[in-house]
Subunit: 450 residues, 2 copies
């Protein structure tokens, strides 16, 4: 008898409720047991510290987070199984009924997706009944942190490329097979020109980009034969990978192919030297129109070096460094209770302090339109500048349709163009002013923050 | 009118075919177009280099990878959309028909999940028709690389904890909401005692672990009130987080609670000093049975330091460092064509060389049963030691049921116990011998590798 394949371990998108930490459920059970489940809570999401090498961040992941939040459910089967866990043996039926009946019915305010943001300022606020606002913590953090990490890394890479298109090649190096999809979307928001990820391209309308692997070349007796075959199958879209055996010989080989190749790809060795030598060979053979594409362990520092030395490279492919945000693979994104039944709440743990009260963030610009500083206030204060947080969900329903991917990308481009020059270089140091209103400082003082 | 929530961006587990790089499809189209689609190919998966701080790796993710591989399909809708992409405009119908008809019908050999492995040795081999063996590359790399990274990091952490239980708290810091599930499974294989991830615990039968967040304490007027309420709701399972305001005052508070608490959790500050001082307070108050649990940015180096100083900590929770494999967030896992129609193939790109031919790996042990070295041979050679690669899939069907999670975990424990002592410390240097058979070297010479 042939064994069945292992069951799928993908989540059911209609039953994502238990994609959370157990303590969210124990606290929910607790609040229900002591009759605190209709307390009204405000939780805020913010970043504690800039990751290594970052001087600003690009907020991303909101569309998927909100969609999943509004669909968040527990199936009967999930609830029945959780009910049997020893930790819940003292818990009365109303908790389990509440899980089965769960729908997110609170409000969400958020900074729009694609916005440039900084640590210490509120990015998103959930206002809901205490157990519901608490329950969604893990889900929101895991849905928003990674896209924000990737979009922030991607913005640096796009900046370093100085106008040359950059493509996402990260799918194989993602933390699991879903990360590639999220990274394709996040990097496109931050200005990448396209992705190699077929499903992301198909579902999100991102330009798909792909050429050939070394294995194509290896599958033929000679490199020339491999190149000829590819050019016959994809006339007009022929991009040849030239480094399977000897890179410069590969360039000569590619230049000789008919119908004419569009581009060559360099994937190993020093791209600065190889791009100059490849360009010289192509030009010498009259192939001025053939473009040079570089990939292989590139990051923003290497791309900036290539651009500084005017390497004749027309486009870049970035994989590992983008999709793992390799120099800074974690973001200190947190979600904290700031207000309960209209009263400010804080936490005092060493180096983990938070400001109380529901907040708004106002961004000022200088005379040239560049970002000049952010001012954090209580939600009901007004101040100069543009308020960053806007209502997204009210009583569990979208306030307005969320922007499409291209609108998010346009917003992000405008945001990045408004960055002060001092924050633009890969080597820039953190230097952006965040201030807090007098009312917020007074409330913090009152609760013992200072 | 209330807008609909954004559509789900989760993948359809029954249509994961396009979760791949575009070049896998262009090459498949190419092989079909030139009549090479029935060539028989062997591709092998291996690790090029040890990541930073790692001296061995734990192979993980096989069960999910194989399950998804055997379910890999393209829906009609996906194929119809891909067909309209400009790059495929010169491609004849047989390619699109092949996508719609795609089923993985090849063979897979693999090292069992939970096995200790090293760079430069074959971990998995796919033997199939050339376009099919090629197509699954991206999927296999993204399905196996991340679990292997996490299991490898987890094994180091478990080793450093020297018998104290360690729990996975990483869900919120994963690269997207699915990474937490994969990390819970991978860390459990490598010896973690449980996870905070509810859905991973439920579906995989991993012990679930959870306490309370700071927000629970903040939701009450006093810490004492917060602790009392929790103890009433969870008598017998009360673990109290003591660092919301003042850690040592929190410990005194916790010690006074009735019914008696089981444990306290320290989540900030220096866990070495705080654990000693907390233990002293608990003992002074006669609460000898109350355990101390530590969490908060722990990694294997910090845990080793705490263990070395005999910190009175009974268990650890590890989040960010585990789930992002923060010191080494990427693995140089690759999938290379090694044999085509019975003939060896290689790639010569600088620093990316591969050995040709389908291979087997034989592992020797010393007189005490510890791993003494691995010997890589052609698949049809025999050698001393235990052959690591076993048949898993034959003609698209499982050869035998895959082991369950506890069996994988037991296998992993036995593997880790067989590591030479010199590879066990967090600061160990790479030092393990991999050799290649004369036949393999001769074949490599013939193809120009040396």
């Amino acid at each position: 008898m042939i064994p069945d394949p292992p069951v799928s371990l993908w989540p059911d998108p209609e039953a994502l409720g238990p994609v959370t930490d157990l303590y969210q459920l124990t606290m929910m059970a607790g609040y229900i047991a002591i009759g605190r489940d209709r307390d009204r809570a405000s939780f805020e999401l913010f970043i504690r510290r800039l990751p290594k090498n970052r001087v600003y961040l690009v907020f991303a992941g909101l569309e998927q987070a909100i969609g999943d939040l509004l669909r968040l459910r527990f199936s009967s089967e999930q609830v029945e199984e959780i009910r049997r866990w020893p930790i819940f043996r003292t818990i009365a039926p109303p908790f389990f009924e509440a899980l089965e009946a769960f729908r997110f019915e609170g409000d969400v305010w958020s900074v729009p997706e694609g916005t440039v943001v900084f640590p210490g300022e509120t990015l998103l606020r959930v206002e809901a009944d205490l157990p519901h606002a608490q329950l969604v913590e893990t889900f929101l953090l895991s849905s928003l942190g990674y896209p924000t990490l990737v979009a922030s890394k991607a913005a640096r890479i796009v900046g370093a490329a100085a106008g040359r298109p950059v493509y996402d090649f990260g799918a194989r190096r993602g933390h699991g097979p879903h990360a590639g999809f999220l990274a394709a979307r996040s990097s496109y928001i931050a200005g990448f020109a396209g992705t190699s990820h077929v499903e992301a391209a198909r579902r999100l309308g991102i330009p798909a980009f792909g050429t050939m692997a070394h294995s194509w070349v290896q599958a033929f007796v000679t490199e020339a034969e491999a190149f000829e075959a590819f050019a016959q199958v994809f006339p007009g879209a022929t991009m040849l990978l030239v480094d399977t055996y000897d890179t410069l010989a590969g360039v000569r080989q590619a230049a000789a192919i008919e119908p004419a190749v569009r581009a060559i790809r360099l994937d190993s060795g020093d791209p600065l030297e190889l791009s100059y030598r490849s360009r010289a060979i192509l030009d010498e053979l009259g192939r001025h129109e053939v473009k040079i594409f570089a990939s292989g362990d590139l990051d923003e520092f290497e791309i900036a070096r290539l651009v500084r030395h005017e390497a004749p490279i027309d486009a870049f492919g970035v994989g590992t460094e983008l999709i793992t945000s390799k120099d800074a693979p974690a973001l200190s994104l947190v979600y904290k209770l700031v207000e309960l039944n209209g009263v400010g709440r804080i936490k005092l743990s060493p180096s983990k302090r938070t400001y109380p009260m529901a907040k708004q963030v106002f961004r000022s610009r200088d005379a040239t339109g560049r970002f000049a500083g952010d001012h954090v206030t209580c939600a009901d204060e007004s101040a100069e500048g543009e308020p960053l947080l806007v209502p997204v969900v009210r009583e569990g329903k979208l306030v307005a349709p969320l922007p499409g991917l291209d609108a998010i990308r346009d917003h992000c481009r405008a945001q990045l163009e408004s960055l002060p020059n001092r924050l633009r270089e890969p080597e820039a140091e953190p230097d952006y002013a965040i201030s807090y209103s007098d009312a917020l400082e007074a409330e913090a003082d009152r609760l013992g923050l200072h």
